[in-house]
Symmetry: C2
Amino acid sequence: MNYELYYWPGIQGRAEFVRLPLEEAAAPYVDVALVPEQDGGGVAALLGFLDDASLEHPAFAPPFLKAGRQLIGQTANILLFLGDRLDLAPRDAAGRRWAHQLQLTIADFVVEIHDTHHPLGAGLYYEQQKPEAKRRSKDFRQNRLPKFLDYFERVLKCNSAGDRWMVGKRISYVDLSLAQVVAGLRYAFPSASRKALRSCPRLGALHDEVFSRPRIKRYVACARRLAFNNDDIFRRYPELDG
Amino acid sequence: MNYELYYWPGIQGRAEFVRLPLEEAAAPYVDVALVPEQDGGGVAALLGFLDDASLEHPAFAPPFLKAGRQLIGQTANILLFLGDRLDLAPRDAAGRRWAHQLQLTIADFVVEIHDTHHPLGAGLYYEQQKPEAKRRSKDFRQNRLPKFLDYFERVLKCNSAGDRWMVGKRISYVDLSLAQVVAGLRYAFPSASRKALRSCPRLGALHDEVFSRPRIKRYVACARRLAFNNDDIFRRYPELDG
């Protein structure tokens, strides 16, 4: 199966949560928007799917994944699908459900991280909402950031199969996503995340272990992995870091 | 199976998306926070689960559902679970996945609806963020509201099994959720939603059909269904309706 991943070029964005399991499993995939337009790629190919009025299962927004004839949208839904196929999810129904629940909580967290710099909506530039972003970020740093991180640390601590991975005793897509969030937070909020992660040693260890896995290491070192940047979800604006 | 639903009392909130399918299927359930504390209910029972440090699968936030020994969190995840059991979801894997994708898009929409009155975060009162709420609501009314509604209308139109229901030819939890969103929008944004729904006749018809189903009608008429109110997700602040 050759997967086709559709996402905006130039940023990691939500697609990165899909790329990491594909890379960890060494699954063949194409980032379609990065393929030249004359070869059927580019943003044109992505917009083609978004705008195709005849499509029965259109996605509301990228990322979406084409797997054979199936077109699957919503990051957590894509991971639910890929988790089984890439053997990066528990094999029993209850375990799969628990992994998915955690992924949806990560998705909620990502929305709040994004909204620190865009509290008035994505329709305005950051520069048009700087004072509001400062107020929202203060609440985020003081309340939401520690609340989410402490929750995930607690889940690690309570995993009866050991505190190395989030679900059961094997690595899953949840671990890859959470490591990506920790990396993004360290980029965007170096000071606040250092403080909040002090009480989350297991989360720090999980991050380190994910990013030292051979395939993930190779991926991060190669040109396919984009750097964090200020057009993305995780943005480094020192004024928002307190 | 007697389901136990855990949610804050006094508002419909996200739990309403779970109550509607339970009601439509006439499934026995208890709204635990509404049970007297001396009988093991109340907010104390809810907090018990949130704060129980020994729990292996804690929810980050309500709603969560207890089904036998399983504790399931995240609204869309609960619906994915209940959809099969209550026969309110497609029976094939691809159909189930498509329904879930739509539900996750509804969840994204609900976050944006909530954030119209709380753009700076839930940690502050509405009164502390009124000017910001006005700015965010303007973007919501002009861009996001029509974008989401037109998307769902398009999905209805493109359903090859007919434009009555969102997925296939039978009612699903997606229809119940979407009807609830339309009802909530009409409460919160009477003017803006009237305008945006003008180009969405199928969505209007879906709303009417859901709320005229015998069990849903009986539920809405009874005391268990709370009224929309301004402590809830959908709030009527005329200044935000343009």
